[in-house]
Symmetry: C2
Subunit: 237 residues, 2 copies
């Protein structure tokens, strides 16, 4: 069973402000909760309908009540209340995907999923980026958010501190296909609307670009990030 | 000015059934309408707020009325009513991105945008795929839908008829990085949940896969399609 206080709490966590205040966030859907259970994240409560097939301890919730707390158009059996972990420290010596301004929560989730696929386990976002615990980000990450370290930081400081080569994605630069990516590397992409911030440009060691685009001005940020990860991975292996 | 009959008509076009019946669809936002104007699509009417900066003939619409017809969370200055063009014929001899079941309208838009970037101007979808004139597809395509031929057809017939090599995206196969892509090629991807249909598998001439994925089960369909397009383009150039 779920009581009204809990319904109110879960719904309040749709907003970032409340997630920070409470130190909690919500994970929904079979696939994501399954990955959550196998992670080191601290689960406070799981609410599931009676057709959720799992041995894990949980409270029963009616379809109707699940609909009252869900962020999904089609609620999917189970929802978990999770403690926000403390942010660990950035590892300055490993390959990282660095995003200077991602606003769309689905895009961030997809970026985390792609990075994880290609074995890049550190994603670093500028402080003005969308929250990784946004329900849409978690959903789009398909569980990979529990296996990837996602940081928020001042990118200028981070990039200055790191000693790795920084491959920046720009409109003008060497083709990524002709660029030799170091292992480890920093892959730096900017937002779709504004690109990489002016103040970060001088820190880029290798100005690169995705060739093509004769007819189109730009690619979706999640797509650009995927093409960088893919090309880095191709060369590495 | 926009009258109630027009408001009702535009809103009805949010549904595929009505788009087919009326032979009309809607394009929104500055970027998309700008690309539309430069295309060969037949525009019936343009409604724009007084801060739309264009010489093109249009009716004025208030912010409030634009909000009443818009599919966007943040309506963006202009909306156009467009005649659905007749479906042309598939060109059997050019490189095509073929999608067996894309359900998410934003994903389809992003796929069209990516194909266009890499110079692939023919996208062929199975008949059960989401409509290309869905407002979210048009929005995500960022205008590239007006520069790309997007077809719906029985994929089995199309693939049988074509004489080009068919590179299928599967969970098991040769790494795409070790595969020599022919020019022209057919790049075939299945839906995220079901993959390529069983009946199409025997038609694949080159079984391929995106390596990686030790920790993650899958990639977003738009991301997989982008990685195929990128690798095809890299080898071609």
């Amino acid at each position: 069973m779920i009581n009204n206080r809990e319904i109110k709490l879960i719904n309040s966590l749709k907003r970032k402000k409340n997630r920070i205040e409470e130190g909690l966030f919500v994970v929904e859907g079979e696939k994501n909760v399954e990955e959550l259970i196998h992670s080191s994240f601290q689960i406070l409560d799981i609410y599931a309908t009676n057709n959720w097939n799992s041995e894990v301890e949980h409270h029963l919730i009616s379809e109707k009540d699940l609909g009252r707390v869900s962020s999904l158009t089609t609620p999917n059996k189970v929802i978990a209340l999770v403690k926000t972990p403390k942010q660990a420290s950035i590892n300055l010596n490993i390959t990282s995907l660095v995003i200077d301004g991602v606003n769309d929560p689905g895009n961030l989730g997809s970026i985390i999923r792609t990075a994880n696929w290609f074995g890049i386990n550190q994603v670093i976002c500028s402080n003005n980026s969308v929250d990784k615990f946004n329900p849409k980000t978690i959903m789009a990450s398909m569980g990979s958010i529990f296996k990837t370290n996602v940081f928020y930081t001042d990118l200028k400081n981070y990039l200055k501190e790191s000693k790795l080569p920084i491959y920046g994605a720009l409109l003008q630069g060497d083709s990524i296909y002709d660029t030799l990516f170091n292992d480890p590397s920093i892959l730096l992409l900017g937002s779709e609307s504004h690109g990489i911030s002016k103040e970060l440009i001088p820190l880029i060691t290798n100005k690169t670009t995705i060739p093509g685009g004769e007819n189109t001005e730009s690619l979706n940020l999640g797509v650009s990030a995927a093409i960088y990860c893919s090309e880095y991975f191709r060369q590495k292996n």
